[in-house]
Symmetry: C2
Subunit: 185 residues, 2 copies
Amino acid sequence: MSKIRDEVVSANDAYTADFGDKGSLPMPPGRGFAILTCMDARLDPAKYAGLAEGDAHVIRNAGGRASDDAIRSLVISHKLLGTNEWFVIQHTDCGMLTFTDDIMRGLLASSLDTSSVDADGWHDNGKSPGSTEGNHIAWLTIKDLTEAVKEDVNRIKDHPLVPDYIPVHGFIYDCGTGKLNAVKT
Amino acid sequence: MSKIRDEVVSANDAYTADFGDKGSLPMPPGRGFAILTCMDARLDPAKYAGLAEGDAHVIRNAGGRASDDAIRSLVISHKLLGTNEWFVIQHTDCGMLTFTDDIMRGLLASSLDTSSVDADGWHDNGKSPGSTEGNHIAWLTIKDLTEAVKEDVNRIKDHPLVPDYIPVHGFIYDCGTGKLNAVKT
């Protein structure tokens, strides 16, 4: 029994009631491109980039970083499903700008429960036990947004499984205005 | 100069013109949950699960798999941004059901260009050189959809950085109808 689960299931019922002919869309993206962006709740890539169902692959993780897993997804997107143009879209006010590996590891070692941030920085609010497993994860935090977009676009372009001819566009989404601002890479 | 890039930028212009008060949304997800789902172009999680901007984190990769990177994102989502309930939503007709690590590695070793699939299986269409780098990546392909959802829900629940009290719901999205079908885990 979960209120959130019930809400998701009823929103889905409403969606299926008006599904139209979307059931016959093919597997490969119709517009032949992919977007890598952040998991941030304020971002809706379908809306901010004008995607209908069937148009484009959307890959999302904390930060919109070119992680090994994002590259796994992009290579599948091109090699098996034919996308030939990619976007890396990170954003202003990203949570990844607010901490470092050391902070995250310290907070997790102290407790697995939710922490909070104030003017002095992050504070652990938790009561449950912590874990040092966080020491074994690169959290892919961001120090400078423009530099992170450049680093990630270049990591993708330079990857040995990515053909040279795929354009990779870098953008920063402005959470205050919804605008995509191009990053020169 | 890219037609796709121009289209994305103009769709974004239209989005910003009607942005309303979304610029003042806070960073933590308002409804306190996260969805892990596939990058597939036919899936729009905001639509199929009823999400407005600001509601929930959305993590997407090839397959909607509980990769190390998806777990990185989920742990950040809970520990730093307060989500307390998660969904793993994979889908019917997923591309990840159509190949294996061996097939992917063979295709990439032969060429980095797009391949195609027919009744006989995958065929390499490419002319550009290949790379054996694919041998070093676990592609996280799927043999049985229900088993993959169970495996991934359990991998998340059992992770040492995930507190016991977070519910993790497993679903399979039906690409033919838009319906979310629960998976017993």
